[in-house]
């Protein structure tokens, strides 16, 4: 799939913008603080109805305006789909084909993106919560059911943590209700863990292949899904459900004591292993970056496998972070298949021999000018 056209109204520092893109490589060129990331963010928001850098939708609305609009036209093998998202201070409204969508789960999946920003280079080494967020965002785009399980799980988790606290302070006493919450949580939790394990296994195959290419066959990359020992032998969703139920029973007193749910997918982690060693503990910074890159690129292939379409690739200021070999890989591997957007302050940072006729857009203070139209561009139709 690719994004053919994008229109912004009152989004960040774009008062009004209407632009068309190349199905291939799109370069957003400009000094710092001009609106390059804001434009990538707009594409991300159009895909996921939320930003990658703020939880607060207000921040996306241009200062002084009441609402922001992001509209786009997505071209897929099945046809062209117009998407529109309106963000107001009270909430958001999403339409697909001009029909308003009552739920997020019916909107997501229309436009899929994979974003690679400088902070993603920390994917391997950063906090477990960053890896969980990564997994949830990606799998949520591929599977509405995963997204549904996740929202249900989070809602029940909030209730359960609150109830544990009430039990702890003797404001509540009913353990049957706690059992019910544990049962519900175990049900959705088992589904989430199972899907993560299945999709991570698939992703690992792609990641190992790419990693081998990037390291010229020197490194073998594997993933391990880290969860409590009590769940290690459970392999089906049903087994996981039973094991989680038993674990909640076992942890009950500790959970009440600490007023918090101590097991479930919200506590799990993923470890990346190259040549038998945990990269976060034993890898050099370079190895950690290469691993992050392999994982991100694998996501593109996994999305293609799961949804039948390649996602968009959004690269924010990452080229300068990578050496030429890795740059070449990033751009060469996907250039004919995946619509790519990359931001840079300087074209000399882009390995020029590998990019075919990109569309180059210069951005200054929320204004965009096309400096090179690029190949196969919609304008020429």
């Amino acid at each position: 799939m690719y994004l053919d056209a994008l229109t912004l109204r009152h989004f960040r520092n774009y008062d009004s913008l209407s632009v068309t893109f190349s199905p291939g490589l799109n370069i957003l060129l400009g000094e710092n603080a001009q609106g390059k990331t804001n434009l990538l963010e707009a594409i991300y928001v159009l895909a996921l109805a939320r930003s990658h850098r703020t939880h607060n939708d207000h921040e996306l609305i241009e200062w002084g305006a009441d609402s922001a609009e992001v509209t786009g036209r997505v071209v897929k093998s099945s046809g062209t789909v117009p998407l529109a998202l309106t963000l107001t201070k009270k909430g958001k409204k999403a339409t697909v084909n001009h029909l308003e969508q009552p739920r997020l789960s019916s909107y997501l999946g229309q436009l899929n993106v994979v974003l690679f920003a400088p902070e993603d280079l920390n994917l391997v080494k950063g906090a477990p919560s960053a890896r969980r967020r990564f997994v949830d965002m990606e799998f949520g785009q591929m599977s509405p059911k995963y997204l549904y399980n996740l929202t249900q799980y989070r809602a029940i988790l909030r209730q359960r943590n609150k109830y544990l606290r009430q039990l702890h302070y003797h404001q509540a006493h009913d353990l049957v209700y706690l059992d019910v919450l544990s049962d519900q949580l175990a049900g959705f939790g088992a589904e989430i863990i199972h899907t993560r394990q299945v999709l991570l296994d698939r992703m690992m195959v792609f990641a190992d292949h790419l990693h081998g290419e990037i390291t010229q066959g020197k490194e073998k990359l594997t993933f391990r899904y880290v969860l409590p020992n009590e769940l290690a032998d459970a392999h089906t969703a049903q087994d996981l459900y039973q094991a989680l139920l038993a674990l909640y029973k076992k942890l009950r007193d500790r959970e009440i004591d600490q007023s918090v749910t101590l097991a479930g997918p919200h506590r799990d982690d993923v470890t990346f292993i190259t040549n038998g060693k945990d990269v976060s503990a034993f890898g050099s910074q370079g190895q950690q970056r290469t691993t992050a890159l392999s994982v991100k690129l694998a996501e593109i292939e996994l999305m293609k496998e799961q949804t039948g379409e390649y996602p968009l690739l959004l690269l924010d200021d990452v080229l300068s972070e990578l050496d030429t070999v890795r740059q070449t890989h990033l751009l060469a591997t996907f250039q004919s298949k995946v619509q790519t957007f990359l931001t840079t302050t300087d074209l000399s940072g882009v390995a020029e021999d590998i990019v075919h006729d990109p569309r180059i857009m210069t951005i200054a203070d929320g204004q965009l000018t096309v400096t090179a139209p690029g190949a196969g561009h919609a304008d020429s139709e």
């Binding site: 019916s106 029940i156 209730q159 109830y163 009430q166 009913d174 209700y177 019910v180 919450l181």
Partner: protein, 200 residues
């Protein structure tokens, strides 16, 4: 600054207490009221007052009523062997409109939700259990709480309390809206409908 005379200022204030009504709408409604015939205004005031003072909750089922027990609970022709449990009185209105269910009801007045301070003692569960103890003729409890995580917990909780007494507990099915196109159903509805499929 010019102020409205006190009676109209107070009326605007009252309208603003209603949900979804801001100062602008309240002002418009207040001036509209001034133009209404005296009789209509008197009725309006009387109805507001009566709704609050004459209506109360049925001591058996918790529905809103102007007599106790309510018309449903005091109707001997209704099927006494089934109780359908809902979250709110307005759910009963929706179910009665279909004119297919002829059993009894029970209103919980909420769902279990610790984050909003609603535990098992805070909703109308105890009176349901007492009802079941006193009326051995009840053979089935149908739970019609909403399809939210909290509605689901409440249903599971009730099932755990009631089933050991040998009473059948059922839950409303989820599915596609009748007359709707599968193509336009959202993912969540479809997932639930597939899970709840039935053999033909």
């Amino acid at each position: 600054m010019l102020q409205y005379p006190e009676p109209i200022a107070k009326l605007i204030d009252s309208y603003m207490k209603l949900p979804g009504i801001g100062e602008k709408t309240a002002t418009r409604l207040a001036f509209f009221t001034l133009d209404m015939p005296q009789d209509d205004v008197d009725d309006f005031a009387q109805n507001l007052h009566d709704a609050k003072t004459k209506l109360h909750f049925c001591s058996i089922c918790g529905n809103i009523t102007d007599q106790d027990p309510c018309v449903i609970c005091s109707d001997p022709t209704r099927d006494q062997s089934r109780i359908l449990v809902v979250e709110q009185p307005k759910d009963i209105m929706a179910l009665e409109r279909m004119n297919e269910y002829h059993g009894l009801y029970h209103v919980l007045h909420g769902v279990l939700s610790p984050t909003t301070g609603k535990g098992p003692e805070d909703i109308n569960i105890k009176s349901l259990l007492t009802r079941l103890q006193q009326h051995a003729e009840v053979k089935e409890v149908i739970i019609a709480t909403n399809a939210t995580p909290e509605g689901e917990s409440t249903a599971m909780y009730l099932a755990r309390l009631i089933k050991p007494a040998g009473i059948k507990v059922t839950r409303l099915a989820y599915g596609l809206a009748v007359g709707s196109d599968i193509e336009y159903a959202d993912a969540m509805t479809l997932i639930k409908a597939v899970e709840g499929r039935q053999e033909m």
